[in-house]
């Protein structure tokens, strides 16, 4: 149906900037953000009539799908990423505006589910119950993932501050 795809195209056009931004927060880099958004939107568009009619809120649906796709994608590529992380101190060109932001770097070390919880909570402003619904886990899991993430971020940031002070002084 051409009309259906026109409608979907309009949806893409209207939501793309926000979704890319959201994907950037979720994945931590522009390339993965674009990849994630494109993949999820294409899947959704191929079943657009169904998604629009049955989900009521396609935008909420696509954001939720992105969070889930991000978490499960990481599961598949974890090994590869761990290896790729090793030469982290190498002199590669930074590609991200937040490359030197300690909090951004600390977020990058979180497992994706913890990161997703942080993004849903502090980017989307969702409650624990809403996050549990979005990720298909229990509220208890959300709570424990959030507290692990917070503890780990605090530790990393504190370490980064100490380092920063050290290099300022020296």
């Amino acid at each position: 149906m051409p009309g259906e795809f026109t409608d979907f195209g309009d949806f893409v056009q209207a939501t793309l900037p926000g979704l890319l931004r959201y994907g950037h927060a979720l994945t931590g880099n522009p390339h993965d953000a674009a990849d994630l958004v494109q993949t999820v939107l294409e899947k959704m568009g191929s079943r657009w009539t169904y998604v629009r009619e049955k989900t009521g809120d396609p935008l909420a649906y696509v954001r939720r799908s992105m969070a889930n796709a991000h978490v499960s994608r990481w599961r598949r590529t974890r090994r590869e990423n761990l290896v790729a992380d090793l030469p982290d101190t190498g002199p590669h060109v930074p590609d991200d505006p937040f490359e030197h932001e300690p909090l951004w770097r600390a977020l990058r070390t979180l497992p994706p589910r913890q990161r997703a919880v942080m993004v849903l909570r502090y980017y989307e402003g969702l409650s624990e119950a809403e996050i549990a619904g979005a990720l298909g886990v229990t509220q208890g899991t959300v709570k424990s993932q959030a507290s692990k993430a917070i503890a780990s971020l605090r530790m990393k940031l504190t370490a980064a501050d100490i380092q920063g002070e050290g290099s300022d002084a020296g």
Binding site: F5, F8, G9, V12, Q13, L16, P17, L20, R21, H24, A25, N29, P30, H31, D32, A33, A34, D35, Q38, T39, L41, E42, K43, M44, G45, S46, R47, W48, Y50, G56, D57, A60, Y61, R64, S65, N68, A69, S72, R75, R76, T77, E80, N81, A84, P87, P94, D95, P97, F98, Y122, A132, G133, G136, T138, I150, L153, R154, L157, T158, D161
Partner: protein
């Protein structure tokens, strides 16, 4: 000195509100994504229509184009975004990462060959069995139909009284905490089902006792790949796959050796274990 939790929360909110998170969409993004959606649709329908070799060709060329589009998109976003550098993605991107891991492709796993073909009553043209591994089986329409909002006249959120008003009998009550598990039977449901009713939230889980199918043709014997291909946002969970079906509910497909063995509809918000 330690960063307080409050300060961390503030910094997180500030970071996520930072305008540098914005990524300008590539100029051709709309066209590329709509084309990608069409291709996925065509691939699915092509395979369903059993257009044999043609489907395989579409699938293969679709796959190749998709990779290229992803690369283009990535590049476009990167170059539009980088303040001064149009240079390099980080190392793990150049390391030949799968561009689209959530779509079953030629690389996806062993259960492709163990997919149990349901007895095919088909009058359609013969399907080449290995031409396109991800969704070569026909849609499953056996068993009762499980809707995104309920099962027959049984709808998520209904109280025991409302359920009874549908002519459905609840028996075998097993109370536990704030929820009760029943067997639901009667004229209002297509077949018997196990249901969980929460005191506060009403009906939260429906599991037909014989494997039900969905409107998308996923049911008894569907492979994991079929489930993942049929639903955007599907994700593996312990023992099966969970699929967001509305903003308030998920399908849970339990997988056994021969594919899907059980289909449930469950509310996302539950106050009982489930």
């Amino acid at each position: 000195m330690n960063i307080s939790e409050d300060e961390l929360e503030q910094r997180l909110r500030a970071l996520f509100a930072d305008e540098r998170l914005d990524l300008p969409p590539p100029p051709d993004a709309r066209t590329a994504i709509v084309a990608g959606a069409r291709r996925r649709r065509r691939r699915r329908q092509g395979v369903l229509a059993a257009a044999g070799v043609a489907a395989a060709v579409v699938a293969v060329s679709g796959g190749l184009t998709m990779v290229r589009l992803h690369a283009e998109d990535g590049t476009a976003v990167m170059s539009a975004d980088g303040p001064s550098l149009s240079v390099k993605p980080p190392e793990n991107l150049t390391a030949g990462r799968q561009p689209d891991p959530s779509v079953p492709g030629p690389t996806s796993t062993q259960d492709i060959h163990v997919s149990a073909p349901p007895a095919s009553p088909t009058s359609k043209a013969s399907r080449p069995p290995s031409a396109h591994p991800s969704s070569k089986l026909p849609p499953v329409l056996s068993g009762p139909l499980l809707d995104p909002d309920g099962f027959g006249t049984l709808k998520l959120g209904m109280s025991e009284t409302q359920i009874a008003a549908q002519g459905i009998t609840l028996s075998d009550a097993q109370a536990g905490g704030s929820c009760t598990v029943y067997t639901a039977q009667g004229g209002g449901v297509p077949a018997a089902a196990t249901v969980v009713v929460s005191k506060a939230l009403g009906l939260t889980v429906v599991t037909p006792t014989q494997a039900a199918h969905t409107a998308e043709g996923i049911g008894a014997g569907s492979t994991k790949e079929q489930v993942l291909a049929a639903y955007p946002g599907a994700k593996e969970e312990s023992g099966g796959v969970v699929v967001p079906v509305t903003t308030g509910a998920d399908y849970h497909f339990r997988l056994g050796d021969a594919g899907v063995v059980q289909t449930s509809l469950a509310s996302v918000n539950q106050d009982c274990a489930g």
